[in-house]
């Protein structure tokens, strides 16, 4: 097998390595493919579907799809952007996302993606689900209202922290993140220094007692769209 793989994304020649995913190769080449469940330090999950691209005309999740020689990948077409918008809007109405009092606002990847896609309001009706809070841990809050079921915490606890604090519970509309203790996170071996705490893309996992250390207006995505740092690589490369 040749180690180098050549393909195109929106007509741009991209070089990848065998075994890489489209998302990894794109990121290295300075092309941003939107994503929520994917994280560079974690095994791909393929659940949010936001990174879906067309590979030779067929929809595939870029975070799990391996690069292949000669593939024609479409990323930023009007059609795909519309479909991604719909997914992000679905996530907004499915949970309870009150950005105005969320500590994560400005650093939230869901919100940032909505900004990047130019969403002014979701076109779907809000579900206003009943979801729980868990404050049993001395240093960590869990707010299921904001959870988008991306599974980053589940994977981070296993793969990066060497623990097994979370797993998905229930199915379909009743699916949620569960803890390895019936009485809440405080009864697990989760620690505030664990990677799962900061890896949450939304405000579902927060450290206690550190609210608004960085003021709104100076946060990660307040001025620059999400993905800018990846796109900067390409600008630099040229």
């Amino acid at each position: 097998m040749s180690a180098t793989i050549h393909f195109t994304i929106d007509g741009v020649e991209v070089t990848g390595k065998a075994g890489q995913t489209i998302l990894q190769a794109a990121s290295e080449a300075g092309i941003y493919i939107p994503r929520l469940c994917a994280h560079k330090d974690l095994t791909p999950h393929g659940s949010c579907r936001v990174c879906t691209v067309m590979v030779n005309g067929r929809p595939q999740a870029a975070c799990t799809q391996p690069v292949s020689d000669g593939a024609i990948v479409e990323n930023e077409t009007a059609e795909i952007k519309e479909l991604r918008r719909n997914l992000v809007e679905m996530l907004f109405v499915e949970g309870n996302h009150y950005c105005m009092f969320c500590e994560k606002s400005g650093n939230c990847e869901l919100q940032a993606l909505a900004y990047r896609l130019g969403i002014q309001a979701p076109r779907y009706p809000y579900f206003f689900p009943q979801r729980a809070l868990d404050a049993t841990h001395p240093d960590i809050f869990i707010d299921h209202n904001r959870c988008i079921l991306c599974g980053r915490c589940v994977r981070a606890s296993k793969e990066l922290d060497g623990k097994n604090v979370f797993q998905f519970i229930g199915r379909g509309a009743h699916k949620r993140v569960g803890f390895n203790a019936p009485d809440g996170l405080g009864h697990t071996d989760a620690a505030v220094s664990d990677r799962f705490v900061s890896i949450c893309p939304v405000g579902a996992i927060l450290k206690k007692r550190v609210g608004y250390a960085i003021p709104v207006g100076q946060r990660l995505f307040d001025k620059r769209p999400i993905g800018s740092e990846i796109e900067a690589r390409r600008a630099k490369g040229k």
């Binding site: 791909p44 719909n86 997914l87 996530l91 797993q167 390895n180």
Partner: protein
């Protein structure tokens, strides 16, 4: 937790070698022994299997038949699929509510009965039907269900019910079920007379690659619905590297309106097991698994007996059929109520003792399947075809049916027709011909391929049933004059909302939105723009979903929008006021009026 219960859990786990991949069996046995899976039971299982408790809870909470709350001695699960609705399940439900004094989702105070709804249980030809624990009752009426409940109350024993046993092996001592086969037409392949074990003997006389070549020559395609060429799948698995290989048979027949595998399992189980054995020989496997849906648990003892007989005849075990070095055996993996497990990678997850989540592809099961080893997953009917192909020859098989769709197909026909049942017909029969055979020439709409299939209008009845025109895994649901296709579509969307695993966004959220969208049409609140809204939403779910369930779950909406567009168009009302018809101020004020004990002075009542 009582020490004896803890010991019991430890014994169950020990029986499965404390192997966490046998979690399904452990949970099934634990629930059978202790009634439900309490938090203590979950802890005890986690301890015995030496895994995190959340892993146990994760699997236990996924399947509809597992309960983490106490339930009655008799759990009555009434099937709520569309055909049961057409056949009067609502009257049965009312009788149950009335007689038990509880609603669905509840348990009687004497802990005798729990009432639940369940998705299609594979009895559409004898609807309305229900599961009582793992027994089946069919052709229910409000009178018959009252009598059943009365008798259960009196005797506390299902076996005391005076029920007429069904046809064929349904009367077998190990089955003793009221289910009828309704096998109304036998064809040349599956239900033709055949000599047992002849095919296996012929296969073992060939080399494994010759067997695969023969399957390829026969042009056999998977009977589950997707129609992937079987021989090619086997070749991939054979050529993939791995320390072991597995043959999995998909008997998770959950597609609404399908019940043909039920009849194979009852009347032709040997044919299927023989096909699995041939597959084992062909791909170099020593282990087969029959994944039997939880709804068909009533057939389990019978199927175990068939396997035992095959072992005693030397058709399973070491040196199968006298072929030195070919060792192959089959175990039955019972499911626990999850339609998604009919998706091949979800089925594998379930066999591994996990939640029934589909797996990421690639790698495909043929490369990395069960326990990460090369595996094939084929439908019950496909394995039966395999046996017959080896017996009668690839050319014989390929000559039946059409060029793209060789062989016969079992059709499960239900709904508004005179003769619901299973029909084995050569591929290429037109829908019109089938409708004539089953006595449904006045059908206004036919759902071909189950909930995930498509709704066909009379202008398409001339089309052929085959992979290239009207594809189906077997389900044919007939709707007669006066039926409302949008309500049918809504019933299918309710099914998908219930059965989505929730792994990916579009399927988990989009199906609920689609159902809500249909609701607007049914309640007369839709506007012209709602048609495009449904189309866009349907396209998003179809394009962006991760597995076959989500990629087809929008079909009820998309296909009715295509084939019955006028049904939607005649319901839309142009909105000139700018007010949302869905906003119901009377309802929105009801709670408030109750709390402050006065009526609104603005809103008329």
């Amino acid at each position: 937790m009582k020490q004896e219960d803890k010991t019991l859990i430890q014994d169950i786990c020990a029986r499965f070698n404390r192997d966490r991949t046998r979690m399904m069996d452990v949970l099934i046995e634990a629930q059978r022994a202790l009634g439900y899976l309490s938090s203590d039971v979950i802890d005890a299982i986690a301890e015995a299997l030496a895994i995190a408790r959340v892993e146990v809870e994760s699997a236990a909470s996924f399947y509809a038949f597992f309960s983490q709350k106490p339930r009655g001695k008799f759990v009555i699960r009434l099937c709520n699929d569309i055909i049961d609705k057409l056949k009067g399940v609502d009257r049965v439900a009312s009788a149950l509510r009335e007689q038990l004094g509880i609603d669905f989702g509840q348990t009687t105070d004497d802990d005798l009965f729990s009432l639940e709804w369940t998705s299609c249980i594979g009895m559409c030809d004898q609807a309305p039907a229900a599961l009582i624990n793992d027994k089946i009752v069919t052709r229910l009426s409000s009178d018959s269900i009252r009598e059943i409940v009365r008798s259960l109350k009196e005797h506390g024993d299902f076996s005391k019910l005076k029920l007429a046993l069904g046809s064929g092996n349904n009367s077998h001592p190990l089955v003793r079920s009221v289910v009828d086969n309704n096998l109304l037409q036998r064809g040349a392949v599956i239900f033709a007379p055949s000599e047992p074990s002849q095919a296996l003997g012929k296969a073992l006389a060939m080399s494994p690659t010759e067997v695969i070549r023969s399957i390829k020559t026969s042009r056999l395609r998977g009977r589950g619905g997707a129609g992937f060429p079987t021989g090619m799948k086997w070749e991939f698995a054979r050529n993939a590297t791995g320390d072991a290989r597995y043959v999995l048979c998909n008997a998770d027949e959950g597609e609404p309106g399908t019940f043909k595998d039920r009849v194979i399992l009852t009347e032709a189980a040997d044919l299927m097991f023989e096909g699995m054995t041939i597959a084992g020989y062909a791909i170099g496997s020593e282990q087969g698994i029959l994944y039997l849906r939880g709804e068909y648990a009533y057939l389990r003892a019978f199927l175990e007996d068939v396997l035992a007989q095959r072992r005693s005849k030397g058709l399973l075990g070491d040196n199968v059929g006298g072929k030195a070095g070919f060792n192959f055996d089959i175990r039955i993996q019972l499911g626990a109520g999850a339609y998604i497990c009919g998706e091949e990678t979800a089925l594998i997850s379930s066999c591994e003792g996990l939640r029934g989540d589909p797996k990421t592809r690639p790698p495909f099961p043929a490369q990395k399947g069960y326990l990460d080893m090369p595996s094939i997953v084929n439908n019950v009917e496909t394995f039966c075809c395999v046996t017959r192909i080896l017996d009668k020859g690839a050319g014989w098989f390929a000559a039946i049916g059409t060029t793209g769709s060789a062989g016969t197909k079992l059709f499960s026909v239900s709904g508004d027709c005179e003769r619901p049942g299973v029909y084995e017909l050569a591929f290429g029969v037109t829908l019109a011909e089938l409708l004539k055979i089953v006595g449904a020439e006045d059908a206004i709409a036919v759902q071909v391929g189950g909930a995930s299939g498509r709704m066909v209008n009379p202008s398409e009845y001339g089309k052929k049933l085959c992979f290239d025109e009207l594809a189906t895994g077997g389900s044919i649901m007939v709707f007669g004059p006066g039926r409302d296709v949008i309500k049918v579509a809504r019933a299918f969307m309710e099914f998908f909302c219930e059965e989505s695993c929730g792994y990916c966004t579009p399927c988990r959220v989009g199906n609920r939105l689609l159902k809500q969208g249909l609701e607007r049409f049914i309640r007369g609140m839709a506007e012209p723009s709602d048609i495009e809204y449904l189309e866009q939403l349907g396209k998003t779910v179809k394009t962006m979903s991760r597995c076959g369930l989500g990629q087809t779950s929008a079909n009820p909406v998309l296909s009715t929008l295509q084939s019955f567009r006028s049904e939607y168009e005649r319901r839309v009302v142009k909105n000139t006021s700018g007010l949302q018809p869905s906003f119901d101020i009377v309802k929105a004020l009801r709670d408030s009026e109750t709390i402050v004990k006065r009526k609104s002075v603005h809103v008329g009542h």
